[in-house]
Symmetry: C2
Subunit: 514 residues, 2 copies
């Protein structure tokens, strides 16, 4: 009989692009999500947790071909006898599931429907440094109202949220823009630029013109997005004759006229000293376009509502250079930016940047129901916000571990368990050492690895005398760094107290450690 082949041992690794989160990484995020949920809840938003798995059909956008689903999502086919099972996929954001949920349950949900959602999403993309295929999103959306009061409310809530989690006023700004203003500009300026004489039928020419218009629109958005890097001159070149970049490579231009490019630049540079002046300037820029005027008026309403509630113009700023999302959204867009400076990987100072963004989109459930339902919402980048708080020292990178009760006498485990029970009942995090107690050094090494603030020791002598030894491990580590041998021998970080004073003394030391 042939021996069965030995299976090789499996590798203990996550799939590429996935990672695990330990201890404080988990609890700090949980704590932040709870604080955010509190604010959302106070604003009348209801929690929604949709399933992580959706039909590919409902997710849309990413339709699988027979052999394999398109990239972008993780998808698989449900097994059935004929091999014709449905395709399922992991959600790639929290908006597509909201659309499905709203279409499915719209008769039971209130209108307007304010909901928040927080949880992981998955992207089937090439992973990179700091770029994972599973990450958290934290969204709030209002579905079913076109009122600008909904947009203003989202902006106010975003500001409240940032302050609640620990970003003080002055360290953030919420920047506002409106896709409709850009549409007005396109209509007034680029709308007039027709392709030259075309040789096809009227229908074919119209189609070509439409494709061209869309290309120009996208090119303008992409170029606007580069404005902070390439400056006015760069935009002139990219939209005009083309541009040679630092590496010497030549990027084809879009051959737009100087007048057209002037309009784009006026738009980009139209942020003035205050919102009123910015809005007046924008109004002049798009005065000839109905959609453009509408866009400016929408921002005016939002600003008026926010100011009436005490959100001043230095917290919420109309800024036409906000491009992110302009391609996706249909009305107002918002972006929360942290304005304090940090040092990047290369040691250069830069602003921390964006931690949240959102805006208005009006075709949320149309795919499902045929009806247009207006919606507006925000998504907070939870992991970036956590990183910001760590940068600012608002949350510590290192967690305090539990008090460790050491085991001096294996047979008196019940005594040690009773000690930790007392400590826990007093609300103090505590544990007994559960490894092999033979080597006491290992117990202290363990306490060190656990980042324990305090170790408790009760050997036979202590037991007989009714006392315990309590070691302040944090003070001990400080002394070890700088003390002379004499100082060290005095062990000012070790205290002998009656067994009955255990809890009180531990609390006193914990308080002194801050």
């Amino acid at each position: 009989m042939a021996k069965p082949k030995k299976q090789p041992r499996p590798k203990a690794v996550t799939p590429k692009g996935f990672r695990d989160y330990f201890g404080q990484e988990v609890t700090q995020r949980t704590e932040m999500l709870r604080a955010i949920a509190d604010v959302y809840h106070r604003y009348g938003f209801d929690a929604l947790e949709s399933s992580a798995v959706e039909t590919v059909e409902a997710l849309g956008k990413f339709l699988p071909d027979v052999d394999r689903p398109n990239e972008g999502v993780f998808a698989w086919q449900e097994f059935d006898e004929g091999g014709n099972g449905d395709w399922m996929a992991l959600r790639y954001d929290l908006t597509a599931p909201l659309a499905r949920v709203y279409a499915q349950h719209r008769n039971d949900l209130p209108t307007p429907y304010r909901r928040y959602a927080m949880g992981p999403v998955w992207r089937n993309e090439k992973p990179g440094p700091g770029r994972y295929r599973q990450f958290y999103q934290c969204d709030a959306d209002t579905v079913g109202t076109a009122s600008m009061a909904a947009d203003a409310e989202i902006c106010a809530m975003l500001a409240d949220t940032l302050e609640t989690v620990g970003i003080p006023r002055g360290d953030y700004v919420i920047r506002l823009n409106n896709r409709k203003i850009l549409n007005g500009i396109l209509e007034l300026t680029f709308g007039k630029v027709k392709l030259g004489k075309l040789e096809g039928s009227k229908e074919e020419n119209a189609k070509l013109q439409a494709v061209w218009d869309r290309n120009v629109e996208e090119a303008i958005l992409r170029t606007m997005d580069k404005h902070d890097k390439v400056g006015d001159q760069g935009v002139r070149e990219l939209l005009g004759p083309g541009r040679r970049d630092e590496s010497g490579a030549f990027i084809e231009g879009w051959s737009r006229s100087a007048e057209e490019i002037d309009v784009v630049l006026s738009f980009l540079n139209s942020r003035k000293e205050n919102n009123q002046q910015t809005l007046d300037g924008l109004y002049k820029l798009v005065e000839g376009s109905e959609i453009g005027r509408q866009g400016v008026n929408e921002l005016k309403s939002i600003c008026a509502l926010l100011e009436a509630q005490g959100y001043e113009g230095n917290r919420i700023v109309v800024d036409p250079s906000v491009v992110r999302g302009l391609g996706y959204y249909t009305g107002p867009v918002y972006e929360a930016e942290l304005t304090f400076e940090i040092f990047d990987e290369k040691g250069r100072k830069r602003q921390f940047g964006s931690v949240a963004g959102g805006g208005r989109y009006d075709d949320l459930v149309k795919r499902f129901t045929g009806q247009e339902v207006p919606a507006t919402g925000i998504s907070i980048g939870v992991d970036r916000l956590l990183a910001a708080l760590r940068e600012k020292g608002r949350i510590s990178a290192q967690a305090k571990g539990p008090v460790v009760v050491t085991v001096m006498d294996r047979d008196r485990m019940a005594d040690y368990q009773a000690m930790v029970a007392e400590l826990r009942n007093a609300g103090i995090r505590a544990e007994v050492y559960l490894g092999n107690p033979k080597n006491f050094g290992n117990q202290l090494k363990y306490a060190d690895k656990r980042n324990s603030p305090i170790a408790v020791i009760e050997g036979g002598d202590e037991k007989a005398n009714g006392i315990v030894q309590i070691k302040d491990l944090i003070l001990g580590a400080k002394i070890a760094e700088s003390a002379t041998l004499e100082e060290w021998k005095e062990r000012p970080s070790q205290f002998e107290v009656p067994r009955g004073d255990l809890v009180a003394k531990v609390r006193e030391i914990l308080d002194s450690q801050g």
Copy 2:
């Protein structure tokens, strides 16, 4: 030109076996998980959030064939050019990922490693009523120690957890058993039963005997699990000559002798008045087997440690009829049962039953590293525990909605927003009606759908007089049920107060509603 085919609209449904959770379903679970995490944390357990996606290789157990993965998990193949991409799958529990994480990071983790994890897991199983393919697990495990103090600690923590989330002492019991005692019984009794004379080679016969032994073992476990339904006589028949069930169908027996079956029944029925007596009886039963004695002694240590900490014998009970998990675990097993009665779907009274279970298993990371690492842990059925709290009325099934500020004058939206801002700043959940305000009836219907406790009204007259109307919607609904027309006309549920008293009056009404 052929018209492009119209795509049919996608269906707005979750995949079969998945569901969405709304509002309070989400927040109550979050709240419970937070409370559980607090207890776990106080016991020195650290949070771990592993990735939802694992390599199929690391998950083990479920190896995919080329055409499709085995049932049990949702799995898919990572795309690569040659079609040889790795298989990935959604985790089906939190223990397999713990094994992978511990094997991967064991040099950085403390030993013993206490960790807790909470989150969704996915099962590719046929869904049924109340049986979903995504559900929450909430685990705590101690890895790297064989000490019974670890098992005792988990039992104590489980008791504390149940009381913390709202199950009072007396309404739960934690039942203990030990796989080693059963092994002792198998060794003493069934181990002696050899198959008759076999015709193959010595090797082949040994293999047959091993298969037979395993079958008998499984049959005994399965039969023990039916004891509470079929009673002693049923067990006698199932392990002996076979049994005719209620429907008249005949179930083959296992032809064990009366003496053998007696031992199984003594084991099952050996729970006595208190743990001491139960343990003494068990000791006599397995006295001749070393593994059996070890099993009893382990339970003795656990009970002694727990009693020393004040967990009396009526909270934590040695009960040899606990079978669940005996097949999977290698040492002590524990199960938390809620003992209060509820009415089942058919209106019959029954005990609520199990909400958590766990035990000791010793081959956690062996697959990865070749080393045996002892571990013990518990898994809480969060959704069952939530259901239990709802049954007991400890958490309400219906959430209170936000205060709704109605819109009487579309142009004064800023006034209404200012009101909700005041209410929120006072910590009161509040929102402005954001739908079309034309029809006031719709606004009240909306408040009703939101389950609002209070509606605030400020029309032009009120504004002019500096007052607001505040409707107590809960009192209003009560009055509407029973009041005469006269009473109703007096509107004792509606209050007119100065605008400046808005927050105070709203709070007063909320307090009166309880």
